[in-house]
């Protein structure tokens, strides 16, 4: 992505991270108006209503879950993990893009990240929130979840630190915390802007409270930059660690299809893949609805498509290596696992996965595809589905046929499996809608910086 400067020099407006004749004031106006002055679009109400309804579905299914127990789902012996874990891994994966865009691209000085990082971060937070629900909900006795927390109990019991679930607990908790801080710290200057521009007293107080007394002094900016960089530095290893640890949930076990050393890199790549797909899934409608084509430009979409293509190839490599090792190891169980994946009861999932995660994304090699917004949107959706299928195949299909044929069995999701899953999609969407309505979805001050920098380069 180092060619961004070069592109700018060529003067190709289509390649710029910012299009149009903006000044500091107009950029600020444009973004803050969405929150402060613009009439809430009717679409917003409609979208939020749908999302809210799905949140109610979530509450309903969680309520029933707590009433009856995890037996309302389709899980069984041998498939003791079902949708809950599939969804957990899927959401966590989606949650990767935000931090990647914010932290790593910040450190790599990829300015084009600026107009997408805010909502990507928000998306991360919300995805992690959705993901975080599942490990709790999937417990047989969720009321005792705190047994996983290392606290000095009178029983003298500590968690069992050899268990990857334990590591998982820490990894996800750390990731959620750091992501939240990073997002919030990034919001502070903009919250101050909103405070200053808000007309209504309540808004002024609320934004003022959240802005924590930001005045925009040079000292503030200096400390702010340092803190932001530090947080970015902290968050960077987390991008790798979270999904590595999540992958260890599987890789540490002995189940064929889980016990695989390629999992950590392959999971991380998959997470980035699905994360970017989700960012695109959200960015494309957003920029259309709010007319942000100037800020989230074709170049952003192009770059994100390239990242997807690259991470998609790593994922494809992962699939290939899994199949190769299954054959090369000469291990009967591994070989059977692979055959069962491709040709067993769930074989159609595998081929759908290959189609959506490997075949379809190859279209992204073509520049015309990368610049066709509807196509990009469809491809992003396909990848979202594909990545969900990948987790389904890893979790469910591996468990359904392990070592002893006598214990083999199928997993069929029940109504409640679907309701809980769809409910979390509703929760995710509802949180996004609230975010869009109440907070600047694009970082105002960073856009101003970008404007300044690009002007400097032009002159």
């Amino acid at each position: 992505m180092a060619q961004s400067g070069k592109n700018l020099k060529h003067g190709s407006t289509r390649q710029q991270p910012l299009v149009g004749d903006y000044t500091f004031g107009s950029v600020t106006d444009k973004i803050s108006a969405i929150v402060l002055r613009g009439r809430t679009p009717r679409n917003w109400y409609f979208g939020f209503a749908v999302a809210f309804l799905l949140v109610m579905v979530l509450l309903w299914s969680v309520g029933y879950l707590f009433l009856r127990g995890v037996g309302i789902w389709g899980i069984n012996m041998p498939v003791a993990w079902g949708f809950a874990i599939v969804n957990f891994v899927w959401w966590i994966g989606i949650g990767h893009a935000g931090t990647l865009i914010s932290a790593i691209l910040l450190l790599l000085r990829q300015q084009w990240r600026t107009s997408i990082n805010r909502f990507a971060e928000a998306m991360t937070l919300f995805a992690v929130a959705c993901a975080g629900l599942f490990p709790l909900l999937h417990l047989g006795r969720p009321e005792y979840f705190y047994y996983l927390v290392p606290y000095p109990a009178t029983t003298g019991m500590w968690p069992q630190f050899r268990s990857p679930l334990m590591w998982d607990f820490f990894a996800v908790a750390t990731y959620a915390t750091v992501s939240l801080f990073f997002w919030y710290v990034g919001l502070i200057p903009d919250l101050a802007t909103l405070r200053d521009r808000a007309k209504r007293r309540f808004s002024r107080i609320a934004y003022g409270f959240l802005a924590m007394g930001w005045r925009g002094s040079a000292r503030h900016w200096q400390r702010y930059q340092r803190a932001y960089l530090l947080l970015a530095g902290l968050a960077t290893p987390l991008v790798v660690s979270v999904h590595t640890i999540v992958s260890l949930d599987f890789a540490v076990s002995i189940i064929p299809g889980w016990h695989t050393t390629v999992f950590p890199p392959y999971f991380v790549a998959g997470a980035i893949y699905s994360g970017f797909a989700m960012v695109l899934t959200i960015a494309i409608p957003l920029r259309a609805v709010y007319g942000l084509q100037d800020l989230v430009t074709a170049r952003h979409l192009d770059n994100m498509a390239k990242v997807m293509l690259a991470s998609g190839l790593v994922v494809a490599y992962g699939y290939l290596i899994e199949a190769f090792i299954a054959w090369y190891s000469g291990n009967l169980f591994e070989r059977y696992m692979m055959l069962n994946r491709a040709f067993g009861e769930y074989g159609w999932c595998y081929w759908l996965l290959i189609a959506s995660n490997i075949v379809v994304p190859q279209l992204l090699w073509f520049r015309s595809v990368r610049h066709s917004v509807p196509l990009l949107f469809v491809i992003a959706l396909v990848i979202n589905v594909g990545m969900w299928l990948e987790r389904f195949i890893i979790v469910v299909v591996s468990l359904s046929r392990d070592f002893l044929p006598s214990s083999w069995g199928l997993y069929v999701p029940t109504f409640w499996d679907w309701a809980t899953f769809i409910g979390t999609i509703g929760l995710f969407a509802a949180l996004l809608f609230v975010f869009i309505r109440l907070l600047p979805m694009i970082s105002i001050f960073e856009m101003r910086e970008l404007l300044e920098e690009s002007k400097g380069e032009h002159s």
Binding site: M77, G140, P159, V252, I255, L404
Partner: protein, 1022 residues
């Protein structure tokens, strides 16, 4: 001497009513619930005379009983013990000997009782039907083997669906009302010599009841007594009559047989002495036994129409239709130079070659020299003539005196039941029966459909029915009398060899149950007599009134057998002139089995887990996976995969089966090993009135049964209905796919190199490296060994485990979802030919791995390794991540997906083993190696100062196993049996290559194929 079992308190007439402060118990939820129940009319009836015992056993307080004073209550024994009874130590169970009957014959039991509550059933090793198992431990406490039916009897006793009250035409009534209703009926019959009276019982061996019936028949000489058991031995009795001119009971000693041919005979699994047979058979097949030198074992041939577990153990098995089996038998008889008429033209060439080899082996296979002998066994399904021919063959082979002896039948009155039953129905229909007393049994449901017993019953003016359940028969009777369960009754019964046992109660009847002897007493005009008085009086007469009667009585109760009551053996010879039987028999045999492609053979068999339907309301038995099919909660029309595919049928597809003008709708299940054109219809399902558990499951095969040919029928047609139903099955895959799971080899391989038989792979022997440090075991190191050569797959271990460990029943839907809770399961795998495979069984408890994959992945340390090597489950710590189960390569862990344990039903709560935690929703559980028994032994050892001896700890599965395939013990004890088994060259670890280092290891199966046939079978397969 722990035999002073509680007697039922007599009906108390002197009760006064007490009121106590209700506020004492305010807020006691259990009480509130109980009161709510008790206030209803049913509740008030349901505990008239024995509520006190009931409540005490509920664990309710004295105050609780006080509040109950608003209902009638016997006033005695309401105070706490002034003197502690000698035997009762709170927390320590007592064992009482008693006996259970099935088909009339007794199996001796030892029942564990906790503070007056029976909780667990074991076999009584002093009883002749229970093999003597050599234990080093205290012989008085050593449990004997048992079967699934015996294990599950405890659940029937506590079944809240059991009939609780007397009813008259459906209205609640009383015993006194019954007695007064009976009096005029008997008065009216007295003058007519009882011409209109019929007694209908199941097969009776009880000397007391038989004596009462005979006395009744003496008073009413024209009355008749009919015995009818849905699964009876008519054919065997008629066969003995045909061969010997009299009824005799053969007794078999399979451990003395070198070669056995079982013709549709499931002798390892059913029959009054199957426990003994299974044990003896296993003993003769145990190649590790040092007494057997040179190494040898018996050889078993099985010819059968539908797969049985005995056929599964056979070295060579041949599937033939019922008619072909008879032809096969006659052909065999001719080869052995017995003069029988029969043509073997119908037999295919392959079958004839097989027959040649078997005939040759029966004569010549004597691995232990000339002392050995052969044995041919005929199942009860074969025709009388076949039984007679088998007697002749055994005589010809010199088996009599060696492997078979003849004795007087243990039955009180041997009769041909179908004939008598058909006559009874005829009399009923003709209006000749005015009073019918049905004592036990359920003939309205469990009788051949073409007889239409129900319609005939409607013509009887006065119908009395004593039954455990208010079932199909009770619904059609004027009077229903609740029967006391055998665990609540004084009674007696004889074993297969005639040895009598006193059935003593473990608890006063939970409801108002009466025994058949009490009903007979009422018929004899002695309605007040209790069963205890009746049984004791009878035996007093038998043993004599001498001063030592009490001592003899006590000894008999304690031992569970009455000494010297064995039936005498008789010396009989076969009258070969009778063997050709009636012409109709011969015609039946000669008729071609393949009468057109449309027509199929039907065979009717009792269901493997709910038998003739009597156990239909028993959740444990319903959920017990049936051998081979692993179906639960349903029966299905079993057919060979070949037939199913030719009819384009899949598992669960509904078909209409039409036979003899009647039809039933049944789901299909494919069963390899089934005779090609035979459809097996298991009896016992399709109950219309069985209780909450058993009602409406499966289809009723009795509807197609005919009284003339109850066990098989020819010329059935089958029509696809195009619909299908879901059947709940616990094992969907039966092929090992080249995985090294169940190892087996041949005797020849063992003989060749006893230390390293060729079939024992050894590439993974020894321990692979591990990152985790080794555990040190200073004390005990528990381990289990399971001998696949001994295991028959009978399920006794599964039922025993369920009873011992408070394992809940989950129901059909949950089983279908793959959530059954059994801690030990019996896997069945097929080997070889797809259509006629060999089957192997593998019981699978927790492996208690040394490097347990479950332990490292639990985030909260809820499953941990203990200092004696047990892989323990800490229920209180478990949060239910289920990761342990995912990471278990054996998938032996079970999860409480929903609230499966019954927490509300008072009687079912009483049934729970107090030594085992009842698990609630959201908790993982699994086999513990019966850690409660280990703990009990450890406490004993600590108290007495004697270390735990080998054999002192017996796990529930081990105790129950009829063939003693399971051995538990201490690997650190070099003298222990489990240690020597672990050293055996046949020992192997399941999935040992995963380095889990399981503590439960297996001994490979060894077969003894006939070299001549093995080549032949290989040829015919290719």
């Amino acid at each position: 001497m722990p035999n002073s079992a509680p007697q039922r308190p007599g009906p108390s007439e002197t009760s006064r009513q007490y009121w106590r402060s209700l506020s004492e118990q305010a807020g006691n939820e259990e009480l509130q619930r109980y009161l709510a129940r008790a206030e209803s009319a049913v509740g008030a009836e349901f505990s008239e005379s024995n509520r006190r015992d009931f409540l005490r056993l509920l664990g309710a307080s004295l105050a609780l009983a006080g509040v109950q004073g608003c209902l009638r209550q016997p006033e005695e024994k309401i105070v706490p013990y002034v003197q502690q009874p000698e035997e009762i130590v709170p927390g320590k169970p007592l064992y009482f000997a008693t006996a259970m009957t099935l088909g009339g014959f007794a199996t001796g039991l030892l029942v564990e009782s906790h503070m007056g509550r029976p909780t667990k059933i074991e076999g009584n090793p002093r009883h002749p039907s229970v093999p003597a198992v050599p234990w080093k431990g205290n012989p008085h406490e050593a449990p004997g083997v048992s079967d699934a039916f015996a294990q599950a009897a405890i659940l029937t006793m506590y079944d809240p669906d059991r009939s609780q009250t007397f009813t008259r035409a459906g209205e609640i009534s009383t015993w006194d009302a019954f007695v007064s209703a009976l009096r005029p009926v008997l008065e009216a019959q007295r003058d007519r010599q009882g011409r209109g009276i019929r007694l209908l019982t199941e097969t009776i061996t009880s000397p007391t009841l038989a004596d009462q019936i005979r006395r009744f028949l003496a008073t009413y000489p024209e009355a008749q007594w009919v015995q009818y058991e849905p699964v009876n031995d008519d054919n065997a009795l008629a066969g003995a009559q045909m061969a010997f001119g009299r009824y005799v009971a053969p007794r078999y000693d399979v451990d003395r047989a070198d070669v056995i041919l079982a013709l549709d005979a499931d002798f390892l699994i059913e029959g009054p002495d199957h426990l003994r047979q299974a044990h003896a058979f296993a003993a003769r097949r145990d190649v590790r036994d040092p007494a057997q030198s040179p190494i040898s074992m018996s050889r078993l041939y099985a010819v059968e129409s539908t797969p049985t577990l005995t056929g599964g153990k056979a070295d060579h098995r041949l599937a033939l239709s019922s008619a072909e089996i008879e032809t096969f038998l006659l052909a065999l008889a001719s080869r052995l130079e017995i003069d029988v008429a029969g043509s073997e033209e119908n037999l295919p060439k392959r079958t004839r070659q097989w027959l040649d080899a078997v005939a040759d082996d029966l004569r010549n296979y004597r691995p232990r020299g000339e002392s050995g002998s052969a044995l041919v066994l005929a199942g009860r399904w074969l025709s009388p003539r076949a039984h007679a021919v088998v007697h002749a063959i055994n005589e010809k082979l010199g088996a009599v005196g060696q492997t078979v002896t003849y004795a007087e039948p243990a039955l009180a009155e041997p009769t041909l039941q179908y004939r008598a039953f058909a006559e009874l129905v005829e009399d009923m229909r003709a209006g000749r029966v005015e009073t019918l007393c049905i004592l036990g049994g359920n003939p309205v449901y469990a009788s051949p459909g073409n007889l239409d017993f129900a319609a005939a019953l409607a013509k009887v003016p006065f119908r009395v029915r004593l039954g455990l359940y208010d079932d199909e028969t009770s619904a059609r009777c004027d009077w229903h009398l609740p029967q006391a369960h055998f665990l609540e009754s004084w009674d007696d019964a004889r074993a297969y060899d005639g040895t009598a046992s006193i059935v003593q109660p473990l608890i006063a009847p939970l409801y108002q149950g009466r025994t058949p002897t009490e009903i007979m007493a009422a018929l004899l005009g002695e309605p007040g007599k209790t069963a205890h008085e009746i049984v004791k009086q009878y035996w007093q007469q038998q043993i004599g009134d001498g001063g030592d009667f009490e001592a003899t009585w006590e000894t008999s109760l304690h031992d569970g057998v009455v000494a010297e009551t064995q039936a005498p053996t008789v010396s009989v010879t076969v009258d070969t002139s009778n063997l050709n039987g009636s012409p109709s028999d011969a015609a039946a045999v000669a008729s071609s089995p393949n009468s057109g492609t449309e027509h199929l053979d039907l065979v009717f068999r009792p269901d493997p887990t709910i038998w003739d339907g009597r156990f239909a309301n028993n959740g444990w038995l319903q959920e017990l996976p049936k051998p081979f099919t692993k179906l639960t909660w349903d029966n299905a029309a079993l057919m060979s995969p070949g037939l199913a595919s030719s009819l384009r049928l899949n598992d669960g597809d509904l078909v209409q089966i039409e036979y003899d003008g009647r039809s039933v709708t049944a789901p299909v299940w494919r069963l390899p090993g089934q005779s090609e054109r035979t459809v097996t219809l298991p009896l016992g399902y399709g109950r219309r009135r069985a209780g909450q558990v058993g009602r409406g499951l499966g289809f009723d095969a009795y509807a197609l049964q005919t009284i003339t040919s109850p066990w098989h029928g020819q010329g059935a047609t089958l029509r696809r209905l195009g619909q299908s139903v879901d059947l709940a099955c616990t094992q969907h895959h039966h092929w090992m796919d080249g995985r090294d799971l169940v190892r087996s080899g041949t005797l020849a391989e063992v003989q060749q190199d006893p230390q390293h038989p060729a079939f024992m792979h050894s590439e993974h022997a020894g321990d692979l490296p591990s990152l985790y440090p080794e555990f040190e075991y200073d004390g005990h190191k528990w381990a289990m060994s399971i001998d696949l050569n001994r295991c028959t797959g009978c399920n006794a271990c599964v039922a025993a485990c369920q009873s011992e460990n408070n394992i809940p029943v989950v129901g059909k839907e949950q089983v279908a979802m793959g959530r059954e809770m059994h801690w030990i399961r019996v896997d069945a795998y097929y080997e070889g030919d797809v259509h006629q495979p060999r089957v192997v069984h593998q019981p699978l408890p927790c492996m208690h791995c040394e490097k347990a994959p479950c332990e490292v992945v639990c985030p909260v340390a809820a499953t941990v390794h203990d200092e004696e090597g047990l892989n323990e489950m800490v229920y209180n710590r478990c949060v239910g991540t289920r990761y342990c189960s995912n990471n278990c390569p054996y998938k032996v862990r079970r999860f409480n997906y929903l609230q499966y344990s019954e927490l509300d039903e008072p009687t079912l709560k009483m049934m729970q083993n107090p030594d085992v935690t009842v698990r609630n929703r959201g908790v993982m559980e699994k086999c513990t190696y019966c850690v409660q028994r280990i703990a009990a032994a450890r406490i004993d050892a600590d108290n007495s100062g004697h270390p735990i001896e080998d054999g002192q700890i017996v796990t529930a599965c081990q105790a129950a196993c009829p063939s003693q395939a399971i051995v538990f013990g201490d690997l650190n004890d070099a003298e222990s049996r489990v240690h020597s088994l672990a050293e055996s060259p046949l020992n192997y670890a399941l999935l040992g290559e995963l380095n889990t280092r399981p503590r439960t290891t297996y001994l490979a199966g060894v077969r003894n194929p006939n070299p001549a046939l093995e080549q032949f079978e290989a040829d015919s397969q290719s």
